[in-house]
């Protein structure tokens, strides 16, 4: 049994473990605030254009596939659960549990991207629903529809990039898990990765009703 088994690695610039944990988590939350403001700016654009063109936006909602959007919502919610369970598994020294939950999280994220990039977006391109300037769809109001689709592709695309970053992040955490670096004494990287992933899920929780569900 290694002398460091189950122990907390106290970095030299911190005086006690609580300070290290709190500082790291505070830094992560500050970053997450910038993420909220990033997507928030885009939501602001959505809100303004939707209030300017309510009829056009309502019609364009119907052109999106809410079933695929709904499946993607469920997939991300499940991945949020498994990300949280991975942290919990580390807290109770369940090494197999950490691995299983991280793998499921990654698989859910990949499923999300596949549904989006293989089933959703090509179907839009085939109909000529392209972002902004390139819009060629046959709709009643193309002058406003291109705004809707510009926002749709930009916001879901940027969100998709964040999902891919999450896949890379959790793959890195999985490698560290296989090296045995997470246990009841140290699991903060999992916690911080989980926080990032939950914000990605939060953004989708709002993207789904605003784009896919025509009220």
């Amino acid at each position: 049994m290694s002398p460091t088994e189950g122990k907390f690695p106290l970095a030299q610039h911190f005086s006690d473990p609580e300070q290290q944990l709190d500082s790291n988590k505070l830094g992560m939350w500050l970053f997450l605030v910038t993420e909220i403001l990033l997507f928030g700016g885009l939501f602001c654009a959505y809100i303004i254009f939707r209030s300017l063109h309510p009829v056009a936006f309502h019609e364009c909602h119907k052109l999106l596939d809410w079933k695929l959007g709904g499946i993607n919502t469920v997939v991300l919610l499940i991945s949020s659960l498994t990300a949280a369970l991975a942290i919990r598994a580390a807290q109770v020294n369940d090494k197999a549990g950490i691995k299983l939950n991280i793998i499921i999280t990654i698989l859910c994220a990949v499923t999300f991207m596949v549904i989006k990039l293989v089933f959703e977006w090509p179907a839009k391109f085939d109909h000529g629903y392209l972002p902004g300037y390139n819009f060629m769809g046959h709709v009643a109001n193309p002058d406003q529809a291109h705004i809707f689709f510009g926002l749709y592709f930009l916001m879901t695309g940027l969100h998709g990039i964040h999902v891919v970053i999450g896949i890379i992040l959790f793959s890195w955490l999985l490698i560290k898990t296989y090296k045995g670096q997470f246990h009841s004494g140290w699991w903060q990287p999992l916690e911080l990765g989980g926080l990032y992933w939950h914000v990605v899920d939060l953004i989708w929780i709002f993207l789904f009703p605003l784009f896919y569900l025509a009220g």
């Binding site: 605030v33 403001l37 949020s80 659960l81 060629m136 109001n141 193309p142 002058d143 709002f206």
Partner: protein, 185 residues
């Protein structure tokens, strides 16, 4: 205080600084049932969102959808992200970002909703949802000038009323501009 030999299963030295092994603080562990329960609630609320979107509640559809989304967000933030048991400062940060975002959106909308009310843009303002026909087949094509809108239809009429350059055109603008224009003489 001695540094233990760093083994392969221990975080490696960072920037040449070796961490030292100490007793870990006690973690706050939630039962698995809590996590699964939250997932159940989130899935249920997703079904509710989709179902209520099929109903026609008029102007209440959007606030209701946002209320449900807000509830889901609260569950994720407070339990999955552990904010309920965390230092309140992190919660303050999170809520503050939403507060500042609200200020950003509200002030922007005060502007966009009030466009054309006090300035001479009224003639050029693209009316809500009015479709301006530009191409015979009603479809925009790449290469077509972006913004083929009411400006194109209206700008000739606007320029006739407000000739280019303010030196010669004082008489033309709507009443509100006559006084400051006269003051420039």
């Amino acid at each position: 205080m001695s540094n233990h030999e760093v083994s392969h299963d221990y975080p490696q030295p960072f920037l040449g600084l070796t961490p030292r092994a100490v007793e870990a603080p006690h973690a706050h562990v939630l039962p698995k049932a809590v996590y699964f329960g939250v997932l159940g609630a989130l899935l249920f609320l997703t079904v509710v969102t989709v179902a209520t979107a099929q109903l026609d509640l008029g102007v209440f559809n959007l606030p209701l959808a946002m209320l449900i989304a807000g509830t889901k967000a609260t569950l994720v933030a407070s339990i999955f992200m552990h904010l309920y048991w965390d230092h309140k400062f992190n919660l303050l940060l999170f809520v503050s970002s939403l507060l500042f975002l609200s200020i950003f959106v509200v002030l922007s909308m005060l502007d966009t909703e009030g466009r054309g009310m006090v300035d001479h843009q009224r003639e050029n303002f693209l009316p809500r949802d009015e479709v301006v026909e530009k191409a015979p087949d009603g479809v925009m094509h790449p290469g077509q000038p972006f913004g083929a809108t009411a400006w194109d239809a209206n700008h000739e009429a606007f320029e006739a009323k407000h000739p280019e350059g303010h030196d010669g055109g004082h008489a033309a603008p709507a009443g509100g501009h006559a006084a400051p224009a006269a003051a420039h003489h």
